[in-house]
């Protein structure tokens, strides 16, 4: 009886304002509040509110047979608490149903696991605390930024109190094996749920693609594909950005109707069910080892990190940023952490020609070089402020 596991990643970056060399040492407001509020309002209206309402209704209408999980970054939660308490309330109501699980996330949606394990731990703990405080849930499954996974990470994640981790079902690692089973890492620290990239992308990328031979994708067709796993799979992991609903796939494409009817089409097959990640970890045995020493992600065709650190501009900015860790004064720590958000480096990605305009679509900058200059100037200002703080301290002493 295969279980369908839905996981949605919910994240919005704090975009930077236009910051020139002339602002270094002059302006200290790095974030574009107006733009951020504008984007947030749009995404709340187009995606978060309508989708959460649908999901809540689905739980009710199916007598709690519909289940899903969701990972929401800390910086986004902060914003929602402040400006959209109705979303927080909706999440509270949903979390009380027992049909829903919060995953552990990286608070700042950062790449810290690659640069500073200490910082990584702190950010994960921060997120855990916030979820506990707001929703009284203790996340047991971890979903890293962009689902970054590598074997060495599993020990730390285990120490942080997690039982399992979500990762990309990279075909060249799985080879002949199916992502539709539960795996574990070579050291047996964590159980691993692997994203079924084909079925996930059918919804998140191809849903409205007219060039696709399966277009239009209907709920009954999709349910029949899921049913095909009956007998040769135990978990079907559908992981995607929450923004799939209403933003990447507009309302006009029929994505909401699809979501509304999918559970009922699924229940026409008596062997299919929905589960949360923790439930499937308890229900099914581990069927094999999944291992990758190099970091893998759910991004692009390469499933690697090249979108974030593929060029020297990105590498330099990340290196400088994390080199400030030991000197950063407490009052700059939050800003420093917000600058770690992976999106800032994604905007500097230059490999547009290989995998198309996806990168450009999400960027507030005209070119990756503009993104670099903006970020780099801010780094210079931060460095200046650290210097100033050292001067202050030495005067005090």
């Amino acid at each position: 009886m295969p279980s369908i596991v839905f996981y949605f990643k919910v994240h919005q970056p704090e975009r930077l304002r236009h910051y020139t060399v002339f602002d270094i040492g002059e302006r200290r407001d790095y974030f574009d509040e107006e733009k951020n509020n504008f984007y947030l309002e749009r995404i709340v209206k187009k995606c978060y509110l309508p989708t959460l309402k649908i999901l809540k209704e689905l739980i009710e209408k199916t007598d709690k047979r519909f289940k899903f999980s969701l990972g929401i970054t800390g910086i986004l939660l902060e914003k929602l608490i402040k400006s959209y308490p109705e979303i927080i309330n909706l999440l509270k109501e949903i979390s009380k149903t027992g049909c829903f699980e919060f995953t552990g996330e990286n608070y700042y949606h950062s790449l810290s696991c690659l640069y500073s394990l200490n910082e990584f731990k702190e950010q994960v703990i921060l997120h855990k605390k916030l979820i506990k405080k707001l929703f009284n849930q203790e996340p047991k499954i971890f979903a890293n930024t962009e689902l970054i996974y590598f074997d060495d990470l599993t020990k730390i994640v285990k120490e942080l109190g997690f039982d399992g981790i979500l990762a990309e079902g990279v075909p060249w690692i799985l080879q002949w094996r199916s992502p539709a089973f539960i795996y574990e890492d070579p050291q047996k620290n964590l159980k691993i749920l692997l994203r079924h990239y084909k079925l996930s992308d059918d919804i998140s990328f191809r849903f409205s693609a007219r060039w696709w031979e399966e277009w239009p994708l209907t709920a009954d067709k999709f349910a029949s594909w899921l049913n095909a796993f009956n007998g040769n799979g135990e978990v079907i992991n559908l992981f995607m950005d929450f923004e799939t609903f209403g933003e990447h796939q507009w309302e006009e494409t029929g994505i909401f109707e699809f979501l509304k009817s999918l559970p009922f089409e699924v229940f026409k097959y008596k062997d299919l069910e929905f589960s949360t990640p923790s439930e499937v970890l308890n229900k099914y045995p581990v069927r094999g080892i999944f291992s990758s020493q190099n970091p893998i992600t759910w991004a692009d065709t390469e499933r690697d990190l090249t979108a974030w650190l593929g060029n020297e501009m990105q590498q330099e900015c990340l290196k400088i940023l994390y080199s400030l860790e030991k000197d950063i004064p407490f009052y700059l720590k939050e800003i420093w952490r917000k600058l770690q958000t992976a999106d800032h480096f994604y905007y500097m990605c230059t490999k547009w020609f290989a995998d198309g305009d996806v990168h450009k679509y999400f960027s507030p900058y005209e070119t990756p070089y503009d993104a670099y200059l903006n970020f780099r100037n801010i780094l210079e200002d931060i460095k200046l402020r650290i210097k100033e703080s050292n001067v202050k301290i030495s005067i005090r002493n």
Binding site: T20, F22, M313, T350, E366, Y369, R376
Partner: protein
């Protein structure tokens, strides 16, 4: 297919991009069609890869059309423009399939000959008077343009920017406009690096380059005004202005006012080895055009492995996704980008690498000629 092409200048007897564009276009096109290229007067041109005829046996010492007639238009020129078609007819008798002219001075001849032979008339628009003068056109030239552009069966502007101008200012039906971006000759040519540049480099100076006529349309004054801002961050900087034009004395005056004379060099018009050498010795090329329908200069800079930034009003920028752009009037942002590219090495390196590959892939005379040939096939009677 027989194409009668009516030009105005060819290198080395050219004043700017037009002659260069005509040369490469005719060269590639002549591989596909039976092409005859006309010039208004005789020049000592040898070994051209396509057939050239002269409408007059006289050797005319024409200066570049833009430089000479920027503010005034003299009687002789007007006569030449209006009689060009008849003079061609004296020499050229065989009916072509298409008549293809370039810019306003060939437009009357193009229309005249297309009516005579009863074949379609194409006018290639490399720039318009509106763009050349920052919407302060010479009324005679503007009138000639408007009349003959309207009479032409098809117009081939070199960029979307010029297409918009044709629609807005010349009242042209968008249906007869076909945008045909220029190609570019990507052969690398070794230049002659001036001794002074060698000295500047040994002293760690950064060289910011401007290449183009010193006229309103090209916006050299806007670039000059960034210098005090840039100097604050990069004291050892020199702005090198390559080109001549009527704004020269204004630029001198402005640099005095801004107190930056020490950091400015004017080289006058350069070509060939000397021009390439300047490109090869510079650190950054800025193209601050107020209006530039296409703009070969950015591509020349890219071909010499320079990081190049352009104004939004420079047509070529519209085709390059990687290209960094600014508003020509936004002195602060232009300065911000200049400083950023001079100060942070990695962006400089990454940028020039990517822009080179993109531009090389996009601007190719062979592709341009092929697109034009397909267009000919479509419209041929």
């Amino acid at each position: 297919m027989k194409v009668l092409m009516i030009g105005w200048e060819l290198p080395p007897f050219n004043s700017g991009g037009l002659g260069v564009a005509c040369f490469y276009l005719a060269k590639e096109l002549s591989k596909k069609v039976d092409l005859t290229f006309f010039l208004p007067a005789k020049y000592p041109l040898n070994n051209l890869p396509f057939k050239v005829l002269f409408a007059s046996e006289k050797i005319l010492k024409l200066k570049g059309y833009l430089e000479r007639f920027y503010f005034s238009i003299d009687r002789n020129l007007l006569d030449l423009v209006l009689s060009y078609g008849e003079r061609i007819l004296v020499i050229y008798k065989e009916k072509p399939d298409i008549v293809h002219g370039h810019d306003w001075f060939s437009a009357p001849a193009t229309i005249f000959l297309s009516e005579y032979f009863q074949v379609p008339a194409l006018v290639h628009v490399h720039s318009t008077e509106i763009e050349r003068t920052g919407n302060n056109p010479n009324p005679i030239i503007f009138q000639i343009e408007r009349e003959y552009f309207q009479k032409a069966d098809f117009l081939l502007p070199v960029s979307e920017l010029t297409k918009d101008v044709l629609i807005k200012f010349y009242n042209i039906d968008p249906k007869k406009i076909f945008v045909l971006p220029n190609g570019f000759d990507w052969d690398y040519k070794d230049g002659y690096l001036p001794k002074y540049f060698e000295y500047l480099k040994s002293e760690d100076y950064k060289i910011v380059l401007f290449v183009g006529r010193l006229v309103l349309q090209k916006g050299p004054d806007y670039l000059l005004r960034t210098l005090p801002l840039v100097k604050k961050f990069i004291p050892k900087v020199k702005y090198v202005f390559v080109g001549s034009g009527d704004m020269f004395s204004d630029l001198i005056k402005i640099s005095k006012e801004l107190n930056v004379e020490e950091n400015v060099i004017f080289t006058n018009f350069l070509r060939d080895k000397e021009l390439w050498g300047v490109y090869q010795g510079a650190d950054l090329l800025v193209v601050p055009s107020v209006a530039d329908p296409f703009g070969l200069v950015p591509l020349e800079g890219i071909n010499n492995f320079l990081p190049v930034i352009v104004s939004y009003q420079t047509g070529v920028g519209n085709y390059l996704k990687h290209m960094m752009k600014f508003e020509f009037w936004d002195i602060k942002e232009m300065a911000n980008k200049i400083i950023g590219l001079l100060k942070y090495e990695v962006v400089n390196k990454e940028y020039k690498k990517n822009i080179y590959f993109e531009a090389k892939n996009k601007f190719d005379w062979q592709k341009t000629a092929e697109n034009l040939y397909n267009f000919y096939l479509k419209i041929k009677l």
